[in-house]
C-alpha cells in the first residue's frame, strides 16, 4: 500500500517510540516496579493562550496512569489498541475511530481470553485512542486514524489548489472551473499548495453551509474576489486545517459569519480561531488566529432590527451553553486575554440579555432584495464592523 502523505514534519518515529514505551513497561514489570504512562492533560485548566501565538497551547500538567488493580484494565486496553494502530501504520492502512472500535471487537471475538477488554460502546475505545495520541503527542491522523471530512465546502473564482498525492504526483484544481460544485478540503491540508490567480480580497467562513451555498448561488463569488466557505457547525479538523492553510499561504483577511449565541462563540468561533482544550497538542496546525468575528454582532440586532429569541433556559443545550459562557469568562484563557476583550464583551452581553439571534435573520431585513444579506456582509467588512 502506498505511503500516506505526512501531516507535518514529525521528528518522532511513532513505531519506534511505541516500542520504547512498551520496553520500559515490560522492564518495570520484570522488576516488580509499577509501570507509568503519562499523557498531556488536555483540559482547560492546562490551556494557555498568548495572543501573539494565537492559539491554545498545553501547559505542563500531565495525566499519569500508574499500574494498580484499578488501572490495569485501562493499561491493558491502551497497549492492546496501540498494537492495533502500530499494525495499521506498518501496513499503511487507515481507519475511522468507529472502524477501530469494530476491529477491536473482531479481534476480541476471535480470542476468548481477550473478552474482558471488550468495549461496551465507542466512547470507551475513543478515549483510549485519544489517550494514545496525547501520550505520544501525535495527531490521530499520524496514527492513521481519520475522521470524516465534514464541512468546508469552498467556492472561489480566484483560488487554485495544487495537491501532492501520496505517490508524489501532483493534481491541480482551479476552483473557477468547478461550475456549481464546491471544493471539499481533506483532512491533510499540509499536502496542498494554494495560489491566487488574481488578488483575493477576503475569505468568508459561514457557520451554516446552507447559507454559504445560498450566497454562492446568488453570485457572491462572481461579484467579489474572495473565498467563500461553509463551516457546517463546529469546525471539523479538515475545516480548521484548511482555514489555517488559507490564512498562512494567502495572507488574506479572514471573517467568520455565524449566529449570535454563546454556543457559536465558544464552540465554533473559538475553535476555528484558537483551537480547543481537547485538541491542545494539535491547535498549532488546526487554528486560524487571524479570523475575525463579523457577526451577527449585538449592535447588528438593533441596527438592522433583526428578529431574535429569548434563550430557552428549559432547553438543556442552550442553558448549558449559557452556563458554560459564564464559566468561560472566568476560566478560559482565550476569553480572559485582553486582546479578545471584544469577544468576551459579546459573551457578557449574551449572558446579560439572554437572547440569541441567528445568521439567517439578515434575510428579514429586505426580503424583496435577494442579495441584501450579501450587501450587509460587504458593508460590515468595508465599515470595519467586526470584532
Amino acid at each position: 500500500m502506498a505511503k500516506l502523505t505526512r501531516i507535518r514534519e514529525l521528528k518522532l518515529d511513532i513505531p519506534k517510540e511505541a516500542k520504547r514505551l512498551a520496553e520500559v513497561m515490560l522492564t518495570d514489570l520484570e522488576r516488580s516496579k509499577r509501570p507509568v504512562l503519562e499523557a498531556v492533560k488536555t483540559s482547560l485548566d492546562n490551556s494557555f493562550y498568548n495572543a501573539k501565538v494565537g492559539y491554545l497551547t498545553p501547559g505542563d500538567k500531565m495525566v499519569r496512569t500508574e499500574l494498580n488493580v484499578s488501572s490495569v484494565q485501562k493499561l491493558a486496553r491502551v497497549v492492546f489498541m496501540l498494537e492495533l494502530l502500530l499494525n495499521n501504520l506498518e501496513v499503511g492502512s487507515v481507519n475511522t475511530k468507529r472502524e477501530l472500535y469494530y476491529m477491536c471487537k473482531g479481534v476480541i471475538k476471535g480470542n476468548a481470553r481477550l473478552k474482558p477488554l471488550d468495549f461496551e460502546d465507542q466512547d470507551e475505545s475513543n478515549s483510549v485512542i485519544d489517550f494514545i495520541g496525547d501520550m505520544l503527542r501525535v495527531y490521530r491522523e499520524e496514527l492513521n486514524c481519520f475522521a470524516n471530512d465534514r464541512g468546508g465546502q469552498t467556492y472561489s473564482q480566484q483560488l487554485v489548489v495544487t495537491e501532492t498525492m501520496p505517490d508524489g504526483d501532483k493534481a491541480t484544481v482551479d476552483l473557477s472551473t468547478l461550475g456549481t460544485a464546491p471544493y471539499q478540503p481533506k483532512n491533510r491540508p499540509q499536502s496542498l499548495k494554494l495560489k491566487a490567480r488574481k488578488k483575493i480580497d477576503f475569505c468568508l467562513i459561514v457557520e451554516s453551509e446552507g447559507t454559504a451555498n445560498t450566497l454562492q448561488a446568488m453570485g457572491f463569488t462572481k461579484r467579489n474576489n474572495c473565498i467563500l466557505m461553509g463551516a457546517q457547525g463546529v469546525p471539523s479538523n479538515a475545516v480548521r486545517g484548511w482555514a489555517k492553510l488559507i490564512e498562512e499561504e494567502l495572507s488574506v483577511p479572514m471573517y467568520f459569519f455565524g449566529d449570535l449565541d454563546a454556543y457559536t462563540m465558544q464552540n465554533i468561533f473559538r475553535t476555528l480561531k484558537a483551537g480547543s482544550a481537547a485538541s491542545l497538542i494539535r491547535n498549532a496546525d488546526f487554528s486560524a488566529p487571524q479570523v475575525r468575528f463579523l457577526g451577527v454582532l449585538p449592535e447588528d440586532v438593533k441596527k438592522y432590527d433583526l428578529p431574535h429569541y429569548k434563550v430557552k433556559e428549559s432547553d438543556p443545550v442552550e442553558a448549558r451553553a449559557l452556563k458554560k459562557a459564564k464559566d468561560a469568562l472566568e476560566n478560559d484563557p482565550f476569553f480572559l486575554d485582553k486582546k479578545n476583550k471584544g469577544l468576551s464583551d459579546i459573551l457578557r452581553w449574551l449572558i446579560k440579555e439572554k437572547i440569541r439571534c441567528e445568521q439567517q435573520s439578515f434575510f428579514s431585513v429586505d426580503p424583496k432584495d435577494k442579495i441584501k444579506t450579501e450587501k450587509i456582509i460587504l458593508e460590515k467588512i468595508r465599515g470595519g464592523h467586526y470584532v
Partner: protein, 580 residues
C-alpha cells in the same frame, strides 16, 4: 320566599362528608373500615392491659351497589375487655362519642369519628350498619346486635339484639361490616401493607388474618409487655391559636381565669401567672370568671401567655415501641438480610412531646426491586399511614437526608433507591394531621428535623452493612481484574517488543507481586468494614440481651484491622493521579 335555615346534626354532616374521614374512594373505604375496627380493638386491649390477639377476615361477597365497586365483608375480632351492651349504640352509632377526645394521650383513635363513619358507610352502601357481638368478663353469654346510625339525631340504633353463646372467649368484640369497596392487597394503599405495618409497630400483637382466598396468616407476638399508655397530659399553652384558646376556655364556664390557666394547661404555675402580668396581662382579669371575659380580654390574655417563656412540656406522656421490640418485630415481616433500628428519646417539637422511631431493613425474597425507590411505611401513633405520602413530614424528612453518605443511591430530593423497607413511626399525644382522615402528618420544621436525625442515625448503622458488602464486591472485582487483565497486558507488551518467553514469565511474576499488594489493601479494608459491622452487631445484641459479646475484644479487632489496612496502604501508594 325565604330560605329556611336548618341545623344539621354531626352525623348528618359526616354522612355527607365521608370523603373527609377516609371514605373518598372504594379502595380507601375498605382500608379505613378495617383500620378503624383494628384501632379500636388495639386501644381497648391496651387500656385494659390485655395482650391483644386479633383476627381479621376480608372477603368478596359479590358486586357492590355503587359503580365500579364490589361488596366486601370485613370481620375483626378481638380478645379485649368487650363493650357493655348499653354502650353499643354510642360506640358504633354516634359521632364524637369518644372516651379519648382531646385527652392528650398517645392512643390510636382520638375523636370518635372513625368507627361511626364506617357504620354510616355500611348503612349508605348496603343499607345495614355494623353487626356486633360483645362479651365482657362479667357476662356469661355474649350479646349480638346490629347497630345503625340515626343520621338525623346523631344517635345509634340497636336492632335485633340477641343473646348467644361465645364460650371460647372470656371477653371480646367481634364486628362485621358489609360495605361497597374495592380490595387492593399490595402497594402503598394495600391491605397486606396495612397488616404488615400494624404487625411491625405492635410487637405485643398476635394477629391472624385471611385476605380473600389467600391462606390464613398467623403472626405471633414477640413481646409480652402490653405498652403502658402514659397518663394523659394537659396541652401546652404555646401550642394554641387564639380561636382554639377561646374555645378551650369556654369549657371552663365560671372558673376564674387564673384557675383556668393553671388547670387547663400544663406548665403554668403561680410564678407563670405573675410573669403573664409582667408581660401585659391585666391583673384585674385574673379573678374574673371565664364566662365574663370579652373577646378583647381573651386576646390580651392570649398574647401575654404567648410572649412569656414557659417550661417545655413534659415528655412523659409519650409512648415508644423501643429498639428492642422493634428489632424483634421487624423480623416478623420476613427473612432479613440486615436491619438497623433507632428509637430517639422523646423530645419537644413545636411545644408538643414527640418520639420518633425508625427501622430500616433489607429483606430476602420480598420481591423489592433494586432500582425502585425504597418501600416506605409511615406510622402516626402506631397506625399505618397509607395515602398521600408526598405531603407527609416523614417523606420530607427522608428526602432531605443525603443517603449517598450511607451508601444508598438517591435521585436528587427523592426517596433513596434499593430493595429496602424504611419504617418511620411518630408518636405524640398531640399529633397534627393534615386532614381528619389522618393520612399525612403536617410537616413543621422542628418535626422534620427530629425525624431527619433519627433517619441519619439509622442510616449510619445501615451503611456499615452496605459498606461491608461493597468492600466484598470491590475485593472480588479487584481480584478478577488482576486475573483478567494482567496476562493480556504482559502478552501485548511482549508482542510489541518481540521479547522472549523468559522475559514474559519474569514480567508475569512481577505483575502478580504488584497487584497482590493491591489486593492485600482491599482485603485489609474489608477486614475493617467487617470488624466495624461486628462491633455494631455486638452492640445491638447486647442491647437485646442475647449473645452478649465482649466489646473490648471487638474494638481490639477493629484496631488491628485498621492497623493492617494502613500498613498495606503505606507499602505503595497506588492510584491514577493528575500531577502538575
Amino acid at each position: 320566599m325565604t330560605n329556611k335555615i336548618t341545623k344539621s346534626s354531626t352525623a348528618e354532616y359526616f354522612a355527607k362528608n365521608l370523603q373527609q374521614v377516609g371514605f373518598s374512594s372504594p379502595l380507601k373505604a375498605v382500608l379505613t373500615t378495617l383500620k378503624e375496627a383494628v384501632d379500636n380493638s388495639m386501644d381497648a386491649c391496651e387500656v385494659a392491659g390485655i395482650l391483644p390477639e386479633i383476627t381479621v377476615e376480608v372477603k368478596r361477597m359479590g358486586v357492590g351497589s355503587s359503580k365500579n365497586s364490589e361488596l366486601v365483608k370485613i370481620v375483626v375480632e378481638d380478645n379485649g375487655p368487650g363493650i357493655e351492651p348499653d354502650d353499643l349504640a354510642k360506640v358504633f352509632g354516634e359521632y364524637l362519642a369518644s372516651s379519648k377526645f382531646g385527652r392528650g394521650q398517645c392512643s390510636r383513635g382520638q375523636q370518635g369519628i372513625g368507627i361511626s363513619a364506617a357504620t354510616t358507610w355500611a348503612q349508605l352502601t348496603n343499607a345495614k350498619g355494623a353487626f356486633v357481638r360483645t362479651k365482657t368478663s362479667s357476662m356469661r353469654k355474649a350479646i349480638e346486635a346490629r347497630v345503625d346510625v340515626d343520621i338525623k339525631s346523631n344517635t345509634g340504633v340497636v336492632r335485633n339484639k340477641e343473646t348467644v353463646d361465645w364460650d371460647k372467649k372470656t371477653s371480646g368484640v367481634r364486628v362485621e361490616f358489609v360495605i361497597d369497596g374495592r380490595i387492593q392487597l399490595n402497594g402503598d394503599g394495600g391491605l397486606i401493607t396495612y397488616m404488615e405495618g400494624t404487625v411491625l409497630v405492635n410487637p405485643h400483637l398476635t394477629l391472624h388474618y385471611k385476605l380473600l382466598d389467600n391462606d390464613w396468616i398467623h403472626v405471633e407476638r414477640v413481646s409480652n409487655d402490653s405498652p403502658d399508655i402514659p397518663e394523659a397530659t394537659l396541652p401546652h399553652p404555646h401550642t394554641f391559636k387564639l380561636g382554639e384558646f377561646i374555645t378551650h376556655a369556654t369549657l371552663f364556664g365560671k372558673t376564674s381565669l387564673a384557675q383556668f390557666l393553671k388547670t387547663g394547661f400544663s406548665r403554668i404555675s403561680d410564678q407563670s401567672i405573675k410573669d403573664f402580668v409582667a408581660k401585659g396581662l391585666p391583673k384585674a382579669l385574673l379573678t374574673k370568671p371565664i364566662s365574663a371575659l370579652k373577646e378583647d380580654d381573651f386576646k390580651k390574655v392570649f398574647l401575654a401567655v404567648q410572649n412569656t417563656e414557659l417550661m417545655s412540656p413534659s415528655t412523659k406522656s409519650v409512648l415508644t415501641v423501643g429498639e428492642e421490640s422493634l428489632s424483634k418485630s421487624i423480623q416478623r415481616l420476613g427473612e432479613i438480610d440486615f436491619f438497623s433500628v433507632v428509637a430517639r428519646k422523646p423530645t419537644i417539637c413545636d411545644f408538643k412531646p414527640v418520639s420518633v422511631e425508625v427501622a430500616l431493613a433489607r429483606f430476602k425474597n420480598r420481591n423489592l426491586e433494586a432500582d425502585e425507590p425504597v418501600q416506605l411505611l409511615r406510622f402516626a401513633n402506631r397506625v399505618p399511614l397509607q395515602f398521600d405520602k408526598s405531603g407527609c413530614a416523614i417523606t420530607w424528612a427522608i428526602e432531605s437526608v443525603n443517603w449517598k453518605n450511607y451508601a444508598l443511591s438517591q435521585p436528587k430530593s427523592s426517596l433513596p433507591i434499593g430493595p429496602y423497607i424504611f419504617a418511620v413511626s411518630v408518636v405524640s399525644p398531640f399529633i397534627k394531621f393534615k386532614n381528619a382522615s389522618k393520612e399525612t402528618i403536617d410537616a413543621s420544621e422542628e418535626l422534620v428535623e427530629e425525624i431527619r436525625r433519627a433517619l441519619m442515625q439509622a442510616g449510619q448503622k445501615l451503611s456499615r452493612h452496605i459498606k461491608k458488602e461493597d468492600r466484598e464486591a470491590d475485593l472480588e472485582r479487584k481480584l478478577s481484574h488482576i486475573e483478567q487483565f494482567g496476562p493480556i497486558l504482559v502478552e501485548s507488551l511482549v508482542r510489541i517488543t518481540k521479547s522472549s518467553d523468559v522475559r514474559k514469565k519474569k514480567a508475569e511474576d512481577g505483575l502478580k507481586k504488584l497487584l497482590g499488594r493491591d489486593s492485600q489493601v482491599a482485603v485489609a479494608e474489608l477486614e475493617v468494614a467487617s470488624a466495624r459491622l461486628s462491633k455494631l452487631k455486638a452492640h445491638q445484641d447486647k442491647k437485646l440481651g442475647t449473645d452478649i459479646a465482649d466489646e473490648e475484644t471487638e474494638s481490639e479487632v477493629i484496631e488491628t484491622a485498621v492497623e493492617n489496612s494502613k500498613a498495606a496502604k503505606s507499602k505503595k501508594p497506588a492510584s491514577t493521579k493528575k500531577k502538575k
